[in-house]
């Protein structure tokens, strides 16, 4: 489908100022993958701030025992909306946003395979998000006042049945997440079709950048595991609106069916969320270590293996419901198996750095932070995969600390690494390295200060989702330290926000290829033109720009 006979002569477009309404129209009506990718990222960051504020309020509430900053009902809504927002309105649009912006550029394509489907995906996702937040205004129905859902981000049925969850807030949860899921599915189909069909001449699957491979597996995983959540939500809505009995134990329905369906989605979901970070590290570390990635086929194979194994581990979230010991053994063993491909990835990133000419740009610092923190998260994950250990710490702050280490220490650090790396390409301006270092250190210190102590609070028996606690159980100091950490994190994020604003206004011009990189997105201008490439590139190895810059020693000689 790729044509290489594209006219080279193009009239020079005269730069012209657009009025506000014109540029608004350009953004709203766009089907360009870069604009949509940016809109995904910006919405994700906006939701990140909202959910971050919720987290800060909860940390303030828990800073000291017997605190009454917020009441129990408000607290329930806070952790429900915090979790739901972070997973569905921050994590998922980051997946879609990074894939949208980068995949076509990295495989030398002019757009995604289905540009209009792409725009549909973004707007339906945003609509789902707005629908969820509308519950604050109309959560109790048209006449009642608003109240957000308060059933937890995994919304266990039968707690969510009409009998136990009055009003419309749970409906807003189910509908909002269901609808934003359609957007994720649309975007995933698009990413797969793009990766398979729009690769530029010479870009065989073997030469595809690891980032693109990771996003391909990610999209496949979305298509396989998102429908189980949608199915569960449709059943819940049938129960709530039409009086069906899927989760109604009084009619013989199962109390754990929802849990199974939710975690068949929910566990692979955490891999869906972390994959963009995996992809980012696989691109950033080689560039700043000046070495090609170590064990490329093993890296790709490991991601595919994680994708498959993740489908068979869901019930490790359910050790406490009383499964047979065979089930417990199976799911414990399968969960520990995930540690093998993940270990391969950690070792290969480290091996890529080993003996390299490492440059500690901010992006690279975030990668190093990722490696250490994600390692801790992986180790606590293996601890929790052991069923008897999980019985002790199930639903405790140890679990909270574990998954925040994966999702902040892993995902958020990886995404910041990606933002510092690709920002020059997206905007044409460099981010300030000085402010970036402030951002990294404040955020890194703050994150560890918040979440390391929560492991200990959890081991001392502090349960999740409590809105306050009595003094004298040994939880106070850990909680106070955790809350102090939040201020460091906020300061770090403020540095980042200021850095972005400053750079967009008056940053140093980046040029096309500020990092001396090797993949195709650096072969076009910064920011890339609407058509990405004037002439579709032709590649002969996995590092086309290396070949270009080193004609005396190109990669394809060794492939």
């Amino acid at each position: 489908m790729a044509s290489i006979d594209y006219p080279l002569e193009r009239p020079e477009a005269a730069p012209r100022e657009f009025s506000f309404s014109e540029s608004l129209y350009k953004w709203v009506a766009t089907v360009d993958h870069k604009r949509l990718g940016l809109m995904y990222m910006v919405s994700a960051l906006v939701f990140l701030v909202i959910a971050g504020i919720m987290a800060s309020v909860m940390r303030l509430q828990l800073a000291v025992p017997n605190n009454h900053l917020v009441g129990p009902a408000t607290f329930n809504r806070l952790f429900t909306m915090h979790g739901t927002t972070m997973v569905f309105l921050v994590g998922m649009p980051i997946v879609a946003g990074m894939a949208n912006y980068l995949v076509p550029l990295m495989i030398g394509a002019r757009d995604m395979a289905f540009p209009r489907l792409n725009a549909f995906g973004f707007w339906i996702f945003l609509f789902g998000g707005v629908l969820l937040y509308y519950s604050y205004l109309g959560g109790s129905g048209l006449s009642g006042a608003g109240s957000a859902p308060d059933v937890g981000w995994f919304a266990y049925a039968p707690l969510t049945e009409k009998a136990f969850s009055h009003g419309a807030s749970t409906d807003f949860w189910a509908l909002g997440v269901l609808v934003s899921g359609f957007g994720s599915i649309a975007s995933a189909i698009n990413v797969i079709a793009t990766c398979v069909s729009l690769r530029c001449p010479g870009m065989t699957l073997a030469r595809m950048p690891v980032f693109v491979w990771v996003m391909l597996v990610d999209a496949w995983l979305v298509l396989v595991v998102l429908p189980p959540l949608s199915a569960a939500q449709i059943m819940l809505l049938l129960d709530r609106f039409l009086g069906a009995h899927f989760f109604d134990t009084q009619f013989g329905g199962s109390a754990v069916l929802w849990q199974h369906m939710f975690w068949i989605f929910g566990h692979p979901e955490v891999y869906i969320l972390i994959f963009p970070a995996f992809g980012t590290l696989s691109e950033v570390i080689p560039i700043f270590a000046r070495k090609p990635i170590f064990g490329r086929p093993a890296m790709v194979g490991a991601v595919v293996a994680i994708g498959f194994i993740s489908l068979g581990v869901w019930a490790h979230h359910m050790f406490a419901i009383g499964m047979t010991s065979w089930s417990n053994t199976f799911f414990a063993a399968a969960s520990m198996l995930v540690g093998v491909p993940t270990g391969i990835k950690i070792f290969n990133w480290t091996a890529t750095m080993y003996g390299g000419k490492i440059r500690f740009a901010v992006s690279m610092m975030f990668c190093c932070g990722f490696l250490l923190q994600f390692l801790v998260a992986g180790l606590t994950g293996i601890m929790l995969a052991i069923a008897p250990f999980d019985w002790q710490l199930h639903d405790s702050y140890f679990v909270v600390a574990h998954f925040h280490f994966t999702l902040i220490g892993g995902l958020v650090f990886g995404v910041f690494a990606g933002i510092y790396y690709w920002f020059p390409k997206v905007t044409g301006k460099m981010l300030s390295e000085t402010l970036g270092k402030w951002h990294f250190w404040l955020f890194c210190i703050g994150f560890n200060l918040t979440f390391i102590p929560l492991h200990f609070a959890g081991m001392l028996g502090m349960p999740r989702r409590i809105y306050t606690y009595a003094a004298g159980r040994g939880w106070e100091s850990w909680n106070t330290i955790a809350t102090i950490g939040v201020f460091f994190q906020i300061a770090g994020i403020a540095c980042f926000a200021w850095n972005v604003i400053q750079s967009v206004r008056s940053g140093k011009a980046a040029g096309d290829d500020p990092w001396d990189a090797w993949t195709l997105e650096w072969a076009t201008t910064s920011p890339p033109p609407e058509y990405n490439f004037e002439k579709l590139p032709v590649v002969r190895s996995s590092r086309p720009l290396w070949d270009l810059k080193h004609p005396q020693d190109p990669d394809w000689k060794y492939d």
């Binding site: 489908m1 080279l8 398979v196 530029c200 049938l238 009619f251 086309p544 270009l548």
Partner: protein, 201 residues
Amino acid sequence: MAASAIVPPSPELLESEWKTPDRGKVGITFLILTETSLFTMFVATYLIYIGKSLTGPYPKDVLEIPILATICLLSSSGTIVFAEHALEREELGRFKVWWLATLLLGLIFLAYTGIEWRHLIYVDHLTISTNLFGTTFYSLVGLHASHVIVGAVFLTLVLVVTLRGFPIATQKRRVMFLSWYWHFVDAVWVVVFTVVYIIGR
């Protein structure tokens, strides 16, 4: 400076044509994959809840095997293939006939479902809220029927634009994608039929 212009094109690539799969085929294939995942959940739920209803009516009392509807729906997979072949050979008249036949067979299936549901609701007093059987039956069969409805809407669309003189032969790819979807809906019916009317009874 767009460096892409100076990526040295390798001569063998310029000579041999660079081919990647049709994006539409890839898209529809993965749409079917994700739909399969959705149906799997409803089918699994149906299987889990077989025999779990605490009160009647039970499947063996009220369900009759929909032989005619099944024959209609499955044979519509054949007629749509004949229609495609006709379109391939640009025989527009035959295409219209086979396409209309496909649509009618789909509509007969839907009509049968409607009659079956009407009977179940008004005579057997089985609704979605009666018991677990009703809950799972109406949601699984209804999910499938809603896919048949979507398919029928698109079949109608193609038929209407063709009858109004639109050169449908220019849209062979899209007709093919629609037929893939229709085959998928038929294949799902085989599973639903087996689960609901054979295992479930």
